[in-house]
Subunit: 299 residues, 2 copies
DNA sequence: CACACTTACGATATTCGTAAGGATT
DNA sequence: AATCCTTACGAATATCGTAAGTGTG
């Protein structure tokens, strides 16, 4: 047996109105078309559901059986439909994003806040993690997508280039390098350097860009905040991508862009290959892509 | 939003099979037609519900939302549809009939037993009552219809002639009337008579048929069984319709048909005007009409 | 290259609205 | 006579199946 929600709605309209012409109006149909719709239900069910005399319309006993259930049935259906359209309209939903710590702290907050205010019904989850952890979470499906760099093993992943995060020198204001007009990585390598651990994408991309192994750093630490302190104390200089510069906008420190091609950390939106994002996740994905220019401005 | 159960079934089939061609087969459709059906749901919902690559079909997050509810929705619907078709197919239902005591005892039992055995799911109710009570129950809607005679006030009632219940003389075997070849009511009126109360249809119809008021009876009683006893004891004779004769088929009693036009109690199926009977009630109504010939045979 | 989904397209069914028919009050 | 449901019918729309197109393993 096959019925449409239109037919159910028509049935209920007629059961309410007990009048074909009025019920037809309620369904935005002409009366004959409406009549045919009702006839269709009766044929489908194999029972007469309404008794019509020219002056009165009323439910037959079998019509009453259907009437008792039809409203609940349709209400149930509408609830599901509404639910579905809530997801479609981004009134409800869920997004989980993984992001490199620098992005999670620098670029994303404003965008997420904006997204949240436009879609308050969408639950968001932000996992700030180092590169490998970010990509692992994508592969495992823990998050919908990641904002991160790439690595050697990208099997099963689909990356969309976002923006190049260009590297900058950070050093004390009175450091000789702070006075140079055009700086290249080679100019910096002679000076004592503070570096992040090899597990960080900042360090990995830098080494890859340099072509050769970098000279051993003076100190190698885990967190950027530590780098800030060490540079400020004059222990050395460091080279970090633009997205991390907010750590270094402090009195006594100078920030200088580094020239030279390839001296940038390419950032990507990374999702699982072949997986469709939820409407909510896709919306955030698109939004990040749309606002990728702000990655430079944030620097 | 408007969906049909066919679309819901198609959705579930595809969610199960994750394969258009197989799901299409399950729905008895060609694959392209099935594809269009699914596309229709997605357009209606405004969301993509399945992710298709040429090699894999899987639910999108929104598809999963629908999947969670679709099965329950359809199961609910099928339950209601099945219920409705049970009524249509007379596997379920309810009939309430009122009948004159003579009919309730003589004619109906065999028919009801037969009806019950053919439709064991239909609940039956039989109210045996005198004429007025029978018709009142019909008017009040307490019963679906009645098997009875008519009365003066038949407003709002719709009667369908069933069979004439012809009157017979009952008397002791050795009574002079028992030897007569052709009997007419006039021949009987000279002898002492036992009568039922005026409230009975048996008595009412008889008086009406006689044209003039009947001579005062020797005795006037409530129940036919009492009449039997009195006639058997030789206190008088009586005139009763064929349907009651089973009371009088006893040793020592004679039964003789009475000639004369109009000497019959016309029996009707009486239902409320304009009211449609339930499928079950209509089925019994039709059956009674069909087997009206047996009313004579039963006599 | 074989499998699987989509697109294209002509044929068939369904559905719609207008207009006429029939029944009841 | 007025109201209201049904029937009739041509037009617009939807749906179906066949056949060709496209992309993936």
């Amino acid at each position: 047996m096959n019925l449409s929600t239109r037919q159910l709605r028509a049935f209920i309209a007629l059961a309410d109105e007990r009048h074909f012409t009025r019920a037809a109006r309620r369904c935005h149909l002409t009366q004959p078309a409406f009549s045919a719709l009702i006839r269709g239900i009766e044929e489908e069910a194999g029972v007469r559901l309404f008794h019509r005399s020219t002056r009165h319309v009323e439910l037959t006993p079998e019509g009453q059986v259907l009437d008792a259930s039809a409203r609940r049935l349709l209400a149930d259906f509408d609830l599901v439909a509404e639910d579905l359209q809530d997801y479609a309209a981004k009134r409800r939903g869920h997004v989980a994003v993984a992001a490199l710590p620098s992005l999670a702290a620098g670029w994303l907050p404003a965008i997420l806040a904006d997204f949240r205010s436009r879609h308050p019904g969408i639950a968001m989850q932000l996992r700030d993690a180092l590169l490998d952890a970010c990509l692992d979470m994508v592969q495992q499906g823990t998050v919908d997508f990641a904002v991160a760099a790439r690595r050697a093993d990208m099997t099963g992943l689909d990356s969309q280039f976002l923006q190049a995060d260009r590297y900058h020198l950070v050093c004390p204001q009175d450091h000789p390098l702070a006075r140079a007009r055009r700086l290249r990585l080679q100019d910096v390598l002679d000076h004592p350097m503070i570096q992040l651990a090899r597990s960080s994408s900042v360090r990995q991309v830098l080494e890859q860009a340099a072509g050769a192994p970098l000279p051993a750093p003076v100190l190698e630490v885990e967190h950027l905040a530590t780098v800030t302190g060490l540079v400020q104390a004059g222990l050395g200089v460091s080279v970090v991508p633009a997205m991390t510069l907010f750590h270094f906008r402090r009195p006594g420190l100078a920030i200088r862009p580094l020239g030279g091609k390839g001296l940038a950390r390419p950032l990507y939106l990374v999702k699982r290959r072949g997986r469709t994002l939820s409407v909510a996740a896709q919306a955030l994905y698109d939004e990040l892509l749309r606002r990728r220019a702000e990655l430079e401005a944030a620097a």
